[in-house]
Symmetry: C2
């Protein structure tokens, strides 16, 4: 229901009284950076950008918004991949930027915690941990600009999930402003606390639709002191899965990466990136990048060699190379990390961020590859990613020489096909990026009515007037 302009102006006045006119952006060009989605998938619009400077100011803004039923779109570093941070209604929506809540309130190396406000850039947290001789494992491509509040609101994944978990697993406590503008101080540093409902995990991953995270107590870890990195040539995803379980048995939580890619992925890298070379004399159908990490110096080479020699003896792996220096380790990692980028040199690529149960990955890959190749002859399937997490970036490159736009026009069709098979395998259509606006309508297809009703009940309970990030997460 549209509201009269007068009421809207009145709200803006009240917001200005709360945080100061100088912290409200209404000029179109100044608003632009907060409204443009970084991959140009969405063009946002908003009445204004609100930049409160404290948790109390966030609370006061939300009390006003709640009173006037004003839609509020919380935003961190604006690096989200599903449009969850984008406002769309230029007449109604206000973007609530957390950028000015950027204080690291405490680093506690003895207790292995860091307490940071929502607007702190992820890299600053990593750096502050390192300065204290500790390690904060959350690591993402956007870590130079994403904010930890957004990481928590979207339960970000990244490259350290196998051993350390997602953002959810790294948070001990939260401070949240509710939809009604109350401050919940849940900034606990406790490893064990069984006193009532798990509000913390309810707010984490709710993408700003249940409350506004304003600060968090995060876990720190001992800084790793030793590392062993190996690249393995291997026959099949089945063999890779067996190797994964062997590595997990031998190394347990010291197994910090188990990534995989197909030969075509390595070919893309070798073709498009100068200075790269095939680590092996012969080609292999698949490659596994495996990393062990430890707090002391001298034990990992033995473990890695024991894992690999066991796999050699049973004929499960074709070839393997262990990095003998940090430089060698980096050149092995480079192959994996360049993969996201090199695909663009091969034309259009239709992408999926999906997960299946770890043990189902080989069968899933066989089924989905067969179906995509049947539907799109000559398209090139490039599945790669975090085998140990059951998370694959199932990307499909266009046929060589075909028109890029024709291929990309089939994005929705291929998505539907892939997501259908993911669902058959008990998987997730959003392993780490969230729902936002991009996958919102998918929720109606993948979730049961019971689950949607439970989620809607929770939404109504915590945000009865529906002012927090409307139109996100739950289908219309």
């Amino acid at each position: 229901v549209p509201k009269p302009v007068a009421a809207n102006d009145d709200v803006l006045e009240q917001f200005a009284d709360t945080i100061g006119r100088e912290h409200i952006i209404t000029d179109a060009s100044d608003m632009a950076p907060f409204l443009v989605e970084w991959r140009d998938r969405y063009q946002g619009a908003a009445r204004a950008i609100l930049k409160p400077g404290s948790t109390e100011e966030v609370a006061a803004l939300l009390r006003t918004a709640h009173k006037h039923r004003t839609p509020i779109v919380p935003q961190g570093g604006n690096t989200g991949l599903v449009g969850g941070q984008i406002a769309f209604d230029g007449n109604e929506d206000f973007v609530l930027s957390l950028s000015r809540l950027n204080t690291i309130r405490e680093v506690d190396p003895q207790g292995n915690t860091i307490t940071a406000e929502a607007g702190v850039i992820l890299q600053r947290i990593q750096d502050a941990a390192a300065e204290a001789g500790r390690f904060f494992p959350l690591s993402l491509g956007s870590e130079g600009s994403c904010q930890v509040g957004g990481n928590l609101a979207s339960n970000a994944g990244g490259t350290a999930v196998l051993a350390y978990g997602s953002a959810r697993d790294l948070a001990l406590g939260l401070e949240v402003v509710t939809a009604k503008g109350q401050i919940w101080d849940g900034l606990r540093k406790l490893k064990k606390d069984n006193t009532g409902y798990d509000l913390k995990n309810l707010f984490i991953g709710s993408e700003g639709t249940l409350g506004v995270i304003t600060a968090a107590v995060l876990k720190l870890f001992p800084a790793p002191r030793a590392k062993a990195t190996a690249l393995v040539g291997i026959e099949s995803p089945e063999a890779a899965l067996i190797l994964f379980n062997q590595a997990l048995e031998a190394a347990g939580p010291q197994l910090t990466a188990f990534e995989f890619l197909p030969r075509i992925g390595l070919d893309f890298v070798l073709t498009h990136v100068a200075g790269t070379r095939d680590p092996f004399a012969d080609p292999h159908p698949w490659y596994v990048l495996m990393e062990l990490t430890s707090g002391i110096e001298d034990t990992l080479e033995n473990v890695m060699e024991s894992i690999l020699s066991g796999a050699f003896e049973t004929g499960r792996i074709g070839d393997a190379t262990i990095a003998r220096s940090e430089a060698e380790a980096q050149s092995l990692w480079r192959i994996r990390l360049l993969l996201s980028e090199v695909q663009k040199h091969e034309g259009g690529s239709i992408k999926h961020d999906v997960s299946v149960p770890v043990a189902a990955m080989p069968a899933f890959l066989r089924a989905v590859t067969a179906e995509v190749e049947r539907r799109l002859p000559k398209a090139r399937v490039v599945p790669f990613g975090h085998l140990g997490d059951g998370n694959v970036h199932f990307n499909v490159s266009q046929p060589v020489g075909a028109p890029k736009e024709d291929f990309l026009d089939r994005w929705e069709e291929v998505n539907a096909l892939v997501h259908g098979i993911v669902t058959e395998f008990g998987g997730s259509v959003s392993a780490e990026h969230g729902i936002g606006v991009m996958k919102r309508e998918l929720m109606g297809e993948i979730k049961s009515d019971v689950e949607l009703e439970l989620m809607r009940s929770v939404k109504r309970a915590l945000d009865p007037r529906g002012i927090l990030n409307p139109g996100k997460v739950l289908p219309g």
Copy 2:
């Protein structure tokens, strides 16, 4: 509001139609085992005990209960420590026993999961994991009779939390019957799934007040193949905390136990248990029991020796012994594990299950010990437990020779004193046992109005008629 007996009988008839008269217990002596709390702290009462045989039957029962606003008290193995599983109203309450949902639906060693119904005894899950060459780490004193549904409903802790987390951390997916009698199939095996609100963690730890957990997908781990166990004599909790951080840096997640006890605890064991002996020539004020675990054979002794020699050199520990055999390891563990039991030979003991931030443990112990000794001269403070989790069993033994009852009469007073200091240190008054009925009124003291309001909103949203485990968790 009491309901007429006729309506009540009518409900019973409908329950009988659903699950069969033979699965409803109404005879007083047959009901007794479901109503008696095992430590005799509570005497329950109920209209009947309902023993459904399937998730569908649980759902049908709850649809009837919802319709008639009939109170339902879910119960697993009846081993809870806070009365959460006890029904109290003999005219109104029905106990919903999950015991007949006792099927292990699947063991998946490749995917490292086990799917079990709520009524499966914890030990059966441990055994099934071991048979498949895997390890299920949840381990409690009551594991021979507690049920996994209750473990999840209460987010049980136990002896493996340091490395593996609580019950919450071990669940990948849940099947839950809602208060309205709908079945939520959330039995996912996914390590990564960012599709909407975290319902799983909302139900876990809610002590049967938000829904009835009927099955779960649980994580399995590689079976440990090597272990190193050491007992350390140490000057103070401060020194123990430094040792803990050094051990964590060196061993990371291979550090699977870091328990502590005071000299008086060792004295209790040496006095009351035949065949025990002091592991060291000289007494030490405190002792730390430290355990490392690994998936391969030959690396742990080095790590343990490196941790201990580093601590010796800096003078931080007084003495240490590394177990050279499994028998030696067990005799060291025995000292720690006997501690709960031997206290009873020293008369009355007032107990607390509390946690504080790990780094605050030394200061907390100093503060709370001083205050208890001031208030109760000659009482003997025996704090022991999971230092690595920040979880201490802060128990107070009566003065030697004083009347036991006089001492135990001060239970509430001492609880209030200890919980007050716990709260000052940002701690939890229930680290692992939950709230139930025992600590329900404490919730009003330790939680902010905002937090209680959030919890009450969630309760109203998911159980609008308040039929699930009424009178538990949330204060009246």
